[in-house]
């Protein structure tokens, strides 16, 4: 007995249209960033404009979804995925806006991540049958009707966005490392130290919100399930992710680790985050099966 909210066909049409439009614009932005990166410098500003357009279109989608479901669009894989993509774009655009052109190269690595996440919501379910991304407008189950839902999910999408940005920078570092300082590819990328610091800032941002996510999740569980920690797989994977980034931050702070070792830790952290997000839902079972 699952409850669905009646939504008119027109409303569904506009919702889907804006989702497709936003996806297309994100991918277009990706192409422009990549073109900029492969030495056509004039494409950088263009890419930034298209990405902002994509972000606006995606915002419209989220507003339409909010109207259609009559609550925050934070529930189920489709809504969570969209909110997460939106937050990733937001965090990136904010840094780009602060740091200007210097940051366009990061865009060439960040936008493919967004494309990957969009693929998870659209193409992947067709290829892998166990992944089911329903677009149905579900009623909120009573256990989810809590103000903590909003804080918890907002923190988690910001945390995941930070980790995504850190991961994109880690890939840049690897590319830079492989290509060498002198090559054209190497020249197009910021200095390794700069990349490591971008990576650190993004990971630290993610870590703060991941911590808030875990804490608010515990408080919420405490009011609705009667216990703040149930050792359930989703909770454990969030904690595992947190541990990995804690190791990374310490290695950097105190041990002065730099280079490949820290880059590797950031990448492992991202894998743990993705597993918390998609792996637990489709491969492991638990009381979080709604997320």
């Amino acid at each position: 007995m699952a409850g669905y909210i009646p939504v008119s066909e027109t409303a569904v049409f506009w919702e889907n249209t804006f989702f497709s439009l936003a996806s297309a614009l994100y991918i277009l932005a990706m192409l422009f960033y990549l073109t900029h990166f492969s030495s056509k410098k004039q494409f950088g500003r263009f890419a930034a404009i298209v990405l902002r357009l994509a972000f606006l279109t995606h915002s419209v989608f989220l507003i339409l979804r909010t109207i259609n479901v009559q609550r925050v669009p934070f529930v189920g894989p489709y809504e969570f995925g969209n909110t997460f993509i939106w937050a990733t774009a937001l965090v990136y655009l904010w840094t780009e806006w602060r740091l200007k052109e210097k940051y366009y190269a990061v865009g060439a690595f960040l936008t493919p991540m967004i494309a990957l996440y969009i693929a998870y919501l659209t193409v992947v379910p067709r290829l892998i049958p166990i992944v089911r991304i329903s677009r149905a407008h579900q009623q909120l189950r009573p256990v989810l009707q809590s103000p903590w839902l909003k804080i918890h999910v907002s923190a988690s999408v910001l945390g995941y966005a930070g980790f995504t940005l850190a991961f994109a920078t880690a890939i840049m570092w690897l590319v830079k490392n492989k290509a060498g300082e002198k090559s054209a590819l190497g020249q197009a990328l910021p200095h390794k130290n700069t990349l490591e610091e971008y990576m650190y800032r993004a990971a630290a941002f993610g870590f703060l919100f991941q911590s808030i996510m875990i804490i608010t999740g515990a408080i919420w569980a405490d009011t609705s399930w009667g216990s703040y920690w149930r050792w359930d797989p989703k909770e454990m994977w969030a904690l595992i992710t947190w541990f990995v980034y804690a190791v990374y931050l310490h290695a950097r702070f105190t041990q002065g680790w730099t280079g490949l070792r820290t880059v590797a830790l950031v990448m492992v952290g991202w894998v743990a985050m993705v597993f918390t997000w998609v792996g637990v839902a489709w491969l492991l079972t638990g009381i979080h099966s709604f997320a």
């Binding site: 007995m1 409850g3 490591e196 703040y228 595992i240």
Partner: protein, 437 residues
């Protein structure tokens, strides 16, 4: 007799302090965190209940946690004074040599040759960029000292301390706490042994959602009694627990309880029973048993012949069960409201009649005295993390070298070195841009 000194060879002290150093070290911290992560990964891949029993609640897993707590505690204790000194008692006056050896060092050409003028310009620019500045006199001229984000130095200390508080709160909570399940229908009363109190349920109401296929909310009014005296009372529903003195009554689920009369058709004698799902009643001396399986408020059979409920509207209540003889299920029983069902038993025919049903609330009753500690720790953790990451602490020393008419600028920041260098470069331009104004 010559006074004997206790034999404490230097070696031993060294070993002890080395051990202490290792126990409070980051290396150990990293090893422990990685171990926890690794074991947790393995544990999540298996069955959940088994993982809780065999891993998360095992002495060795909790032991690693305790070891982690010890590591954190020692690190916090060891670093406390040095960090406080670092944060609040900086050396404001530095020599030219010291400045030139700093993490970031620049010498900026300037035109004017007056020390005061030059240093004041630097001071103004630093202030404009959010730095707290002061000027101190030294033997080799004055130094402008500037700092920003000093509280950031305390971030790691606070973060660690808050993690300890959280662990402590969790430990205290689980040592002094309990968790029980119980429940009932309106009029029921049950004792919570561990808590030493009684709970009386005075009413249970179900509120259907607009869409009746959605699981409805159930509200129950309860009174908590201790030695017959009311302690507190309130309404409990999902996400709305009743809390008192560290105890909490949570609504975890609801159930239907049916009223069934059982009448012997032989002698007309009958009696009433109340049956929950999975409740059972014995119908004769040979052990014929009525075992209820599930209650359906709006009964229907789907195409595959599986009973289900269309929604939560109480339009066609049916309690479905099994008739068990000699330990074997012999037939299904579907009790519909006010429709008698006749059953053959060893003592003759028996009539079963569903006369009504009620809603029951099921609670989880817990005590957690660690909650306020946990909550306090969580708030401190967020503040600590904020200090760690968003207040990148940095310090700048500026001196004037009259011989070469240059400003010597040295800076130090434990984190975000590249951004600090960029910031300094910007400020440097600002300073040289101001000369001659």
């Amino acid at each position: 007799m010559a006074q004997e000194k206790p034999e404490l060879p230097q070696n031993n002290i060294d070993t002890f302090s080395q051990l202490l150093r290792f126990l409070s070290s980051m290396q150990l911290g990293i090893i422990l965190l990685l171990a926890l992560a690794f074991i947790s990964i393995i544990a999540t891949l298996g069955e959940h209940e088994a993982a809780v029993q065999n891993v998360y609640r095992s002495w060795w897993y909790l032991g690693i946690m305790a070891f982690t707590a010890l590591n954190l505690l020692l690190c916090t204790l060891r670093r406390f004074r040095p960090i406080m000194r670092l944060a609040f008692q900086p050396q404001k006056n530095k020599t030219v040599t010291a400045i030139s050896k700093m993490q970031i060092f620049r010498s900026v050409d300037i035109d004017f040759d007056d020390e005061n003028n030059a240093l004041n310009t630097a001071k103004e620019v630093l202030q404009k960029n959010g730095y707290k500045t002061s000027m101190v006199a030294g033997t080799d001229g004055s130094t402008v000292f500037a700092e920003r984000g000093v509280w950031g130095y305390l971030g790691s200390l606070l973060t660690h301390a808050s993690l300890l508080i959280i662990l402590l709160g969790a430990m205290y909570g689980s040592l002094t706490g309990f968790e029980e399940r119980n429940g009932g229908i309106a009029g029921d009363r049950f004792t919570v042994e561990n808590g030493g109190f009684e709970v009386a349920i005075t009413a249970v109401r179900m509120e259907l959602e607009e869409d009746p296929t959605i699981r409805p909310r159930v509200f129950s009014d309860v009174i908590v009694l201790k030695d017959g005296q009311e302690v507190t009372s309130g309404t409990v529903s999902i996400n709305q627990p009743l809390r008192f003195a560290g105890n909490t009554i949570y609504h975890t689920s609801f159930s239907y309880v049916s009223d069934i009369t059982i009448t012997s058709l032989q002698d007309g004698k009958g009696y009433k029973v109340q049956l929950w799902d999975h409740g059972q009643v014995r119908l004769d001396h040979e052990g014929t048993i009525l075992h209820m399986m599930q209650f359906f408020p709006n009964f229907t059979m789907n195409q595959d012949g599986i009973p289900s409920s269309k929604n939560y509207l109480p339009e066609r209540p049916v309690h479905a069960g099994l008739l068990i003889k000699n330990g074997r299920a012999v037939r299904n029983v579907f009790l519909q409201l006010n429709k008698p069902e006749v059953i053959e038993t060893a003592e003759g025919e028996v009539e079963l009649l569903l006369t009504g049903f009620q809603h029951a609330a099921i609670y989880s009753i817990t005590r957690n005295l660690g909650r306020p500690i946990l909550f306090g720790g969580a708030v401190l953790l967020i503040i600590g993390l904020y200090l760690c990451f968003f207040l990148s602490p940095r310090r700048i020393w500026v001196k004037y070298d009259p011989e070469n008419a240059v400003l010597l600028i040295g800076g130090h920041s434990p984190r975000q070195k590249v951004f600090f260098a960029q910031e300094l470069e910007r400020m440097e331009k600002e300073i040289s841009g101001r000369e001659g104004e």
